[in-house]
Symmetry: C2
């Protein structure tokens, strides 16, 4: 076996960011492309991260009074036609089921049994859930109706990219119905705040909460709120959205209730979702040129014990010691659940084994060899530190200190990501020329490297957005936090008291 290179991932972020992303996924064994075009296989390490994201968010969803349910994968074509803007937005990219049988003819399978009405594989479930809500809601007493589902959805993607854009992806979609606009808008805010907490407290990804411009709104929504995160190529990733639908879907689906006075009213609805795309964001925010780094709170495993066996005759002694250590550490708790420690006894070269775990981004490696046993100590390697940076601890201290060390790593990832975002966000740009300059790659061979986020006065206007789009910049959001000062719009020069985040985006 060749010696592990100084940097485990080739190319590095600087050399080729998009390819680095693919190589991190491969090296961490997170996922792979499948034979079904645009669909990926999520491998156990990637799935373990998704399970932890689900667990953290599902608790928040339930604690705030929502109930999980499950709705059909298939949507009758006619349902999609009900909400005009929704059709425009989603009809273009659907998987359509037209037959329900296959027959073998000359060894080939041929689709048979044509359906009278084709079925669409859900790209999102507003219309089919709206149909159920129209039966469930009769009176104001049935409101608010607070439902969530965890499901797979399909949107045909022309340029699929693992986790970020795949034909099939997994998500949760909250769907709620309310008596009036105020209550519905409070729900939209509540969902957005759950997402901020999930991203910042669990994924250690700092986000900006904001509202989308009309052009970027969900098809059929009155208002779309979002959280935006900065990746290490300084592009933005929309990490979650929460929509206020007004009565658009209630009218399209017939969600009506009798109010206290006996009048028939349309409910105000919301929907909100985050998806496996979060894992793409996680990779791009935290990983380095050695591979993935996973924040402890969502890591499938927290630590790995690596027995160091310099000579075959010492194997028994070392493994006896590390097995005991493993047993002891497995009893610990972290973040309200079991601490997950793996004892990696595989017969592999030590360097190769260590690098596998570095590339998987496990928060802690615990090495124990004969000399450590003699001095009753263990050697810790933290994934948030340089790969050679070791910390020697007395064995008896390990159990006591381990949860706190994990908390430190978690906090450190968040701190690093926040600092990076701050460094690469400017509010010093005053006109379109400077803006263009900021977003122009300095090196033509590295088109990914450009300025970052711009916070600038912006007067919402379709024409302005087209001008920005010409140099691939989009209005990511109008942040919810505003200073309210009146200044000149960076595009039109008109006075405005709103500022927007402008950035290139995924």
């Amino acid at each position: 076996m060749a010696k592990a290179p100084k940097n485990a991932i080739s190319p590095t972020r600087e050399e080729d960011y998009p390819e680095w992303y693919q190589q991190v996924i491969k090296a961490a064994d997170l996922a792979e492309n499948s034979a079904a075009r645009g669909c990926m296989v999520i491998k156990p390490w990637g799935w373990g991260i998704w399970e932890n994201i689900q667990k953290a968010l599902d608790k928040k969803i339930k604690d705030t009074g929502h109930e999980n349910a499950y709705f059909p994968l298939f949507i009758p074509l006619s349902f999609l036609e009900r909400e005009a803007k929704h059709v425009e937005g989603f009809a273009k990219e659907c998987a359509v089921v037209t037959h329900h049988r296959l027959e073998a003819e000359e060894g080939k399978l041929i689709p048979k049994g044509e359906l009278e009405e084709p079925l669409v594989v859900r790209p999102t479930s507003e219309t089919i859930i709206g149909d159920a809500f129209s039966r469930w809601v009769q009176s104001y007493r049935d409101l608010p109706l607070l439902i969530n589902q965890w499901a797979n959805v399909v949107r045909w993607e022309m340029r699929p990219r693992m986790f970020l854009r795949t034909a099939e992806f997994l998500w949760q979609e909250g769907h709620t119905a309310h008596v009036g606009e105020n209550e519905a808008r409070e729900e939209v805010d509540l969902a957005l705040e759950m997402y901020r907490e999930l991203l910042e407290d669990f994924l250690a990804v700092p986000v900006i909460k904001g509202e989308k411009t009309e052009a970027e709104r969900f098809p059929g929504a009155v208002s779309t709120l979002c959280i935006e995160a900065m990746m290490q190529d300084r592009k933005a990733l929309q990490a979650g959205t929460s929509h206020y639908m007004g009565t658009n879907f209630a009218e399209a689906c017939g969600i009506r209730y009798l109010d206290e006075s006996g009048a028939l009213e349309h409910a105000h609805t919301t929907s909100w979702g985050v998806s496996t795309r979060l894992i793409g964001g996680l990779i791009m925010v935290h990983s380095d040129d050695d591979g993935l780094r996973v924040p402890p709170k969502i890591s499938p495993k927290h630590a790995v014990i690596l027995p160091v066996i310099p000579k075959e005759e010492l194997r028994g002694e070392v493994l006896e010691y590390t097995s005991k250590l493993h047993k002891e550490l497995k009893e610990l708790s972290y973040n309200g659940s079991d601490l997950i420690v793996q004892h990696d006894t595989r017969d592999l070269r030590g360097g190769e084994k260590s690098w596998q775990w570095i590339k998987k981004g496990i928060p802690l490696r615990i090495e124990v060899g004969p000399r450590d046993i003699e001095s009753d100590s263990v050697v810790l390697f933290r994934r948030d530190k340089a790969s050679k940076d070791k910390l020697v601890l007395k064995r008896e201290e390990l159990s006591k200190k381990l949860p706190a060390i994990l908390d430190e790593i978690q906090a450190n990832y968040f701190k690093q990501a926040k600092a990076y975002k701050k460094e690469n966000t400017t509010s010093d740009i005053v006109d379109l020329e400077q803006l263009k300059e900021y977003f122009t790659p300095k090196n033509k061979k590295k088109p990914e490297i450009h300025g970052g986020f711009v916070l600038a006065p912006y007067d919402e206007n379709k024409k302005s957005e087209e001008i920005l789009n010409e140099f691939k910049v989009t209005v990511r959001c109008i942040p919810l936090e505003q200073d309210g000062k009146s200044e000149k719009c960076i595009v039109t020069g008109a006075e405005t008291n709103k500022k927007a985040i402008l950035a290139k985006a995924y």
Copy 2:
């Protein structure tokens, strides 16, 4: 509102068993049919049961060394063609995606963008997972490969029935690859034992473990093991299956490894699954003419507190008392998790409210009114007892006794189901005439009511199975436990030392 009837479900089991089943689902608010043909909406109470089934089984799956992963929803048509028997078994009933775009023409959406190779919505994932395994397995060191996925699958059903047979259903499918037949067969046994534990210890449903005859085997399997349960109409429900594939799928998908001597070998594979069908079985095993009964270990909620408010002016006093009680009970644990108690303060007539909970099958109702408060006691109604059967407890005893009472209810459901199965299983039938008689409904108006399970000497043989099928009886399984005595086959009269379970089935 009309007074609640003596029996909440109409018709009763005796009157019309299939319709009773639908009415129990409706009354418990478990699920409903959707506009997408054959697909159901699983409502929060039904979904809560499924979540608990998932939680219990997922723990067993992980504790036995399996890892979860996720594979694509879509299978290229050519993959299905790879295993000849598999094609025969599954190709008939598939949802086929042929287009990837919709275009509006005169207000109607038309499927466009025809795919070069149609995609099949997975009816089961042997072929697409086998494709991944062919990449993941290179050496004997990569084996055993122990993977599970939780997913939705689609089989086009001509006569759908909620939970029992739906076009889309949810399940887990375990897929494993091994070095040889012995290890693979051990895995098949292990999965079956997990299912037995899930059914008996959590769902309180007694099962028979057995092997399917060749005619009932999974398409492409060498051997199919199953668990069979008896419903209250004395029909059998296949509740879970575990298949040994030999090298059939390894050959079809190219799953090969280098063994220790450097020779290239095909892996031996297995697959095993249980689905939302289990909820159908649960309903049919435990429910009565008052509605659903859910064993505490998988009930979404364990108890409900029902404040009794005879006069409006007592409302404040009663609710203050019940709120305190609620707070206290929420702190309790049951079965390793939180005890889930709902405080039902809705402004509904007491009788109506009680019946709603009876029909949902909540294990315990706790009623508290002004007189109970005076005597510092609470009134318990157990769902496993007659609906008027009350138990008065001192309030201070409640917290202490509650988990034990739930355990009693859990044990009681299992005991009742075991007794019912025993009562309706016979091994006294010696020839085909008696067998026909046993399975003939005594009352032509109630075709559902017949004998039950027959355990009889059976010499496996296709012709015999056709004879049995003529009067709608199938060989459910050859039980794994056999006494080995040589006796005359109930169909052919040939000597055999195998006994089979014969029954009508879902």
